[in-house]
Amino acid sequence: MKLSMGPQHPVTSHFRFILDVDGDAVLNFEWDVGYTHRGIEKMAENRIYIQNIPVVERINSYCDAIGTTLGYVEVVEELTGIEIPERAKYLRVIAAELNRIASHLYAVSLVGISAGFETMLMWTINDRELILDLLVKLSGQRITYTYPTIGGVRWDMPDGFKEDALKRLDYLEKRLEDYYKMMAWNRTFQMRFKNVGILKPSDAVKLGIVGPNLRASGVKADVRKDEPYEVYDRFDFEVPTGKNGDSFDRASMRLKEIEQSIVILRQALKDIPKGPIKGSPKGSKIPPTAPRGEAYSRVESARGEFGYYLVSDGKSKPYRLKISTPSFRNLPALPHLCRNVPLGDIPVIFITFDYIPLDVDR
């Protein structure tokens, strides 16, 4: 029997699944995506480089706007050869890591609600507000920041930001233990999530899975370590990996990454140098056109690796901007895992992969 799940469904949000079911067992899983397809790659060809920043941001303004924008501004900077000031690099890292925490808290809240832990949802979303407050102080917006710009960042840190941030990070670190108690160390949660949807490391690499989902399978691959962009090579942090690659590992991977983000943020806030935040020291001269050529930039956003492939023909608008998004690259995982599993496990497996529909559809 064919069963259709979504797009109006508490778990699937904008996706639709087409499932072949036999009684309670799911035999085959098929995606129906595209409910939020906007054609951003085409729209990018219609706008000049600087206008494209907010457009590109809307790919994943859902949760991780900084990670998304960062990849785009980096690919443009690589092509045009713009150097950015030291302080701007640190500010980008700070914003990106704050956004990563916010995004992972959101993901954890969804994991909580899918398992029926409504308290988890309320806690994490409430603590996410604390991080969003910091981002509001930094950029003036709650979700769509448009903070990194070509040649630097838009705003400097306001007074008292550092102290405020450190205070909130201390609180969050204490709070993490509550999350572990509530979720990861909770027996009910473990029974529900352990040994469900096991993704082997060889399969994960073969299918092209990225981000925390790949690391949960035990593969150590993080763009921040492999190909450090901005100033990530100056910080001392670990890349957590999972053991079994099951839903439990993927869910708890988010909590572990929040810990590491706090570690990075403390170092970045301590080391941040003084200086300009935009353009070269003599004044910001950002060329309106990019030279003929191509570049590919990789950025580790909260959901995984963003890839921007930019082809320029020397004019003021991109000739082609291909955006390879993490959720899109994670798509093959679900049809691979959802064979001969009970129907009740579908939401659990789905939610731990942390798909964002806008990210898939672009």
Partner: protein
Amino acid sequence: MLSKVRERLMNIKFLRRILNWGRAWSLWSVHLETGCCGPEDMGRACARFDTERFGTLPFPTLRECDLLFITGLVTKKMAKRVRMIYDQMPDPKYVIAIGECAATGGFYWDSYSVVQGVDRVIPVDVYVPGCPPRPEAWIQGIKMLQEKIKKEGIDEK
């Protein structure tokens, strides 16, 4: 027979007011997310902004809901489903369009797959501008809808 009695009762202003008051404070919203205002939907429903104070509770099944939030852009593929969902909701039903994209297409004015304003698909009661609007703006939208509902069926001149 019953409907006639109902109609007559509803013509009594006092009873109508009570009914409207009840409706205005129990707007259960469908969980349908169409665009990038989605996380703010979570933000407004959870602890800090808590729209349940105003009776707006997100609810999974649309058959028991009377409020539809259009959270952001609506694509051509989604538009059919939005219409279907709207048709399935029981009367009376209300729609709040959140964000620029739901109101006019906004950001995606040149996109080939975005509907330029959700009011081409379903009727809209309240528009909330912003990209995305802050939860406070959502709350204001809900309050405006409540004011509208309270005046329903009552000719006040």
